[in-house]
């Protein structure tokens, strides 16, 4: 079947299998491998991207469901020269160790900051419940999100 979706501002029309997942389209068809597949069972959040502005687990969205949608991945939020404030905060606060969960964490954290007016530490911890860090580096991740909150 044919799907058309906008990814990081560029429109793509692709012929995909009916059972293709959004994350497969992003990684395997568009080469956007910044979005990771961790658990592949909707739990770890490494695959989080924004679809029409909200954080979603792209391993649990069919390509057909994303037809017509506006998708933003980790590649679409900043550049090497000009990082997104959330990326900058992750670097500044040493909020990554192995880095595998980081793209999903950052995409989830951006949605969290954008949709919560008064974000405190507990709200950040609750809001990132759907993102697992296998290095267990949560403390600095929470620090980074709180730092970015003030710069976004």
């Amino acid at each position: 079947m044919e799907v058309t979706l906008s990814v990081n501002g560029t429109s793509h029309t692709l012929d995909v299998p009916d059972n293709a997942l959004l994350v497969e389209v992003l990684r395997e068809r568009l080469g956007l491998t910044g979005t990771h597949v961790g658990c592949d069972t909707s739990q770890c959040g490494a695959c989080v991207v924004h679809m029409d502005g909200r954080a979603v687990k792209s391993c649990t969205v069919l390509a057909g469901q994303a037809d017509g949608a506006d998708v933003t991945t980790i590649e679409g939020i900043g550049t090497a020269d000009e990082l997104h404030p959330m990326q900058e905060a992750f670097r500044e606060c040493h909020a990554l160790q192995c880095g595998f969960c980081t793209p999903g964490m950052i995409m989830a954290a951006i949605d969290l900051v954008q949709t919560n007016g008064n974000l405190d530490e507990q709200a950040v911890r609750d809001g990132l419940e759907g993102n697992l860090c296998r290095c267990t580096g949560y403390h600095n991740i929470v620090r980074a999100v709180l730092a970015a909150r003030d710069n976004m």
Binding site: L21, A55, V56, T60, N131
Partner: protein
């Protein structure tokens, strides 16, 4: 995933036609349960009929009742100040489902139609005496859940909205699975038209009202009224997360916590 035909419906009528003409069709709303089920090859439908884009199944209408369109996400219910003002227990319930990303996609219609024994919304549907509206009829919430993953819905029937009466007071307490946030046990206690109603999810094959707890609370909504009360674990679920006996114990504990919120 096995192969299937993906069909995007453009209207409720067309969705019903696609389903009627499929060998073994299934409706897709947010997909937060169905897609993992397909990925694990626990289901092999011939056709997945996506109703997720149907605008007339969305929306929230708060007035004399709280009417929630079937495709309204848990995130939208949790974020609605109108719902919180009218029925805060439902906002709390929606806010505690899964995680933020699941709440951004998962829908009330999908949750209710699936009758997962550990889903949260069914506790509210039975406790508050909600009405489940479909493309064919309206079904009383208390009659809706029949068994494990089994509801009163007929073949091909589509939920259009779920309508909750506004209770004098209500509260929801759940003991979540620490990983999935599914309810190991969830209890909603509500006072609706002068009657105390207790809806339980997570414990049995599907959501139900607890006659024992309702009898204990009939004389007044106080935690002390539940002292010494126990309920039979008869047909309760028993799995690696909790035994049937432990779930029976948790039902009373969650009921006490819900009643304590009302004090």
């Amino acid at each position: 995933m096995y192969q299937f035909n993906y069909r995007k419906a453009s209207s409720v009528e067309q969705a019903a036609d696609l389903r009627a003409n499929a060998d073994d069709g299934v409706y897709l709303a947010g997909g937060m349960t169905l897609i993992p089920t397909l990925k694990q090859r626990l289901a092999a439908p011939s056709d997945v009929i996506d109703v997720g884009g149907l605008d007339d199944l969305g929306g929230l209408d708060v007035g004399a009742t709280v009417r929630i369109g079937a495709l309204t996400t848990h995130a939208d219910v949790a974020a609605s100040s109108e719902v919180r003002n009218a029925l805060a227990a439902l906002s709390d319930l929606a806010e505690g489902i899964g995680d933020a990303h699941v709440r951004n996609r998962g829908t009330i219609g999908g949750s209710v139609a699936n009758s997962d024994p550990a889903a949260d919304y069914p506790a509210a549907v039975v406790a508050l005496g909600a009405t489940v509206h479909t493309n064919r009829r309206s079904i009383a919430g208390v009659d809706f859940f029949r068994d494990l993953f089994e509801t009163a819905l007929e073949e091909g029937e589509i939920i259009t909205s779920v309508e909750f009466p506004i209770p004098a007071r209500a509260a929801y307490a759940k003991f979540p699975n620490p990983a999935s946030r599914y309810a190991i046990v969830g209890v909603m206690v509500a006072e609706v038209d002068g009657t105390v109603c207790v809806g339980v999810t997570g414990a049995g094959p599907c959501a139900f009202r607890s006659a024992e707890l309702e009898a204990a609370l009939a004389g007044g909504l106080s935690v002390a009224a539940l002292d010494g009360v126990s309920i039979p674990s008869g047909n309760f679920n028993s799995d690696l997360h909790a035994s049937a006996e432990y779930r029976a114990h948790l039902v009373v504990v969650m009921a006490r916590r819900a009643v304590a919120q009302l004090a």
